[in-house]
């Protein structure tokens, strides 16, 4: 008697449906939550600069300071939400700048053969061959601190990532018959780029935006950690991490709080990126 016993599905598969296809939902929720905290938080929290020297290095869940206080007795929650506001503002703006420069140049290169394309692609290669953070340090050290220099440097150095990927997509779209058909029907170059190519690269662009946001947040934190990001007195996830180093053995939560915030934001953005990939491109990729 050969009875077929149904084999138990592997644990991964059983847990699978719980998460399958929900990256987008969780990612979007997490990112929205982070944005909400970053925008609303600073209004509700205490003054992040108010020092209370008799209440220094309090552990989390202390009276009146639920995340504790730092070495100068400043409320850690207030500093985290203000730091989050700063870090997110930097990440969003530099991502927008990078995406704008990268997409425009990529579309230009895809549309125009000849010297324009060569110039753009060679510039992309040149930028990608430099270690970004080192160049960023050099630039900021020369130009100076502040929101605008930081954002411009991060955006101005990371656009080639967008240019490279968008160029590849756009130039393949430019070969499509319907692009030729549109040109033969009298569409101008700009109209074709705006009406046929940009919508075609939009899914890729959205996915890249999510991932790039995470990259920029990490880059901002790294620069702030080195003292080149947020100006003195402006809390940022990176410089909070740097300050906490001296108290690592006395008050380890000082390090854990900003570190966890960075991880949380990066994971949320990556989750959103994965979810977008699944939603926008997954169907095409999975097709047999």
């Amino acid at each position: 008697m050969a009875t077929v016993t149904p084999t138990a599905a592997p644990a991964a598969t059983r847990l699978g449906p719980l998460f399958a296809g929900r990256e987008f939902l969780w990612g979007a929720l997490a990112v929205l939550l982070v944005l909400l905290v970053a925008i609303v938080g600073p209004w509700l929290a205490q003054d992040p600069a108010a020092t209370t020297l008799d209440r220094r290095l309090l552990p989390p869940f202390s009276d009146g300071h639920w995340l504790g206080t730092d070495a100068l007795g400043r409320d850690l929650w207030a500093r985290i939400v203000t730091g989050l506001e700063w870090s997110i503002a930097v990440a969003v703006a530099s991502t927008a700048i990078a995406a704008l420069i990268g997409t425009v140049l990529a579309l230009l290169a895809a549309e125009r053969a000849g010297p324009v394309r060569t110039l753009v692609l060679q510039t992309v290669d040149a930028f990608l061959s430099f270690p970004g953070l080192v160049v960023a340090i050099a630039v900021i050290a020369t130009v100076g601190h502040g929101y605008l220099p930081l954002v411009l440097t991060l955006g101005g150095l990371s656009w080639p990532v967008f240019a490279r990927v968008i160029y590849a997509e756009a130039s393949s779209l430019m070969q499509r018959d319907y692009v030729l058909a549109a040109r033969l029907a009298g569409s101008s170059r700009t109209r074709i780029l705006a009406g046929h190519v940009l919508p075609g690269v939009a899914p890729t662009l959205l996915v890249m935006l999510a991932f790039h946001l995470a990259d920029m947040l990490v880059a901002e934190s790294a620069l702030s950690f080195l003292g080149l990001g947020a100006p003195l007195g402006e809390p940022s996830l990176g410089n909070m991490l740097a300050e906490s180093r001296q108290y690592l053995y006395v008050a380890p939560w000082l390090m854990f709080v900003p570190a966890c915030a960075i991880v949380l934001v990066v994971v949320s953005a990556n989750l959103l990126g994965d979810g977008l990939t699944e939603r926008l491109r997954g169907r095409a990729r999975r097709a047999p």
């Binding site: 033969l184 029907a185 009298g186 046929h196």
Partner: protein, 355 residues
């Protein structure tokens, strides 16, 4: 074709006996090409893909352009819109579409001509529409783009109505519903109809159809050809094909292209019944026929020449069974008249030879 005063010579000589429509306006031909050249710069020097082609198409006339792959027929078609791909260059002594001198126009003005004065029907209708926009949107966009500046700007609703009407004209059932369909929701034949509607939506003077039936089922091909012919009205049709049968079916005149040159041009029936150029003869001998007498197909020996190494004189000479010493000299299209051929040693006139 060489005399500018008689560009309709072929058009009026409707060999099949079809009368010229009375509405056909005398005057500007749909297309008037004189000595067209398309050159591509290469490391080895300029390569002439199209070399001295002269053609004209009258209003309401269909000209079939027949030739092998790589003979330059698509280049000629694209040159009619000044749309030769980079880095190709178009030169001609005359390139006019409905009295517009395309050689004198700059890029924005050319954009205004494309889609308005010239409509294009593609080989593969499945890829000629943007898959993420509805058929109606794409038809309406082409219509809206070519509304004259100034005056009341037509509403979206008007454009939609126009798209529905265009779809109805090409025989698409329930155009009110089809106008909102995406390309993947329609069959190949229906999409080709929609593409014809797209090409004709601005009532162009010239329609260029580049192998419009190659991607379609045999059963749909005849319908599409009939549709093209029937909707032609006052427009001229340049039908690019490698199928002599397709050309014979709907065209008034046929031009045979070899290696970037027109080797023979004439009224469709006359050219097919009594081809004078050896290449045309060979093409006909290579085409399968539904004849009671069964005979093997005769392939043309050799391969079409690469544009990079062409012989001087007649380009067909190396493959030609009738080649004579004089073939080293370039033959011109002769005699003047509806049926002309570029050959020093043409075949006998099959019609005259028979008693």
């Amino acid at each position: 074709m060489s005399t500018p005063d008689a560009p309709h010579a072929g058009g009026t000589a409707r060999a099949a006996g079809k009368p010229v429509p009375a509405s056909s306006p005398v005057g500007s031909p749909a297309l008037d090409l004189q000595d067209l050249r398309v050159d591509f710069p290469t490391p080895l020097g300029e390569v002439g893909i199209v070399d001295g082609v002269s053609l004209s198409i009258a209003r309401g006339e269909a000209l079939g352009m027949v030739g092998e792959s790589g003979s330059g027929k698509t280049m000629i078609a694209l040159a009619c819109l000044r749309m030769v791909p980079e880095p190709g260059r178009v030169a001609a002594t005359r390139l006019r579409v409905a009295d517009r001198d395309l050689l004198a126009l700059d890029e924005p003005a050319l954009c205004a001509v494309r889609g308005a004065d010239v409509g294009v029907v593609f080989q593969n209708p499945m890829t000629a529409f943007n898959p993420v926009r509805t058929i109606g949107e794409q038809l309406a966009a082409t219509w809206l783009r070519h509304r004259p500046a100034g005056g009341a700007r037509p509403s979206r609703r008007e454009a939609r109505e126009r798209a529905i009407a265009a779809l109805r004209e090409v025989g698409i059932a329930a155009p009110e519903r089809r106008v909102d369909a995406y390309p993947h929701q329609m069959s190949g034949g229906m999409l080709q109809r929609a593409l014809i509607a797209h090409a004709m939506i601005n009532q162009p003077a010239l329609i260029v159809a580049d192998e419009p039936t190659t991607a379609l089922d045999a059963t749909v091909q005849a319908q599409i050809l009939d549709l093209l012919r029937a909707r032609l009205a006052n427009a001229g049709l340049l039908l690019v094909t490698h199928d002599l049968g397709v050309a014979a079916e709907i065209c008034d005149r046929v031009a045979v292209v070899y290696a970037g040159r027109v080797v023979e041009v004439g009224p469709a029936r006359e050219l097919l019944e009594s081809p004078r150029h050896p290449y045309t003869q060979a093409l006909l001998a290579a085409a399968p026929r539904l004849d009671p007498e069964r005979r093997p197909l005769a392939p043309i020996p050799g391969a079409p020449p690469s544009p990079a190494d062409l012989v001087a004189g007649c380009r067909y000479a190396p493959r030609c069974p009738r080649a004579v010493p004089r073939c080293g000299e370039r033959p011109r299209l002769a005699p003047e008249g509806p049926h002309a051929y570029a050959c020093w040693n043409p075949a006998d006139d099959a019609r005259r030879a028979k008693p």
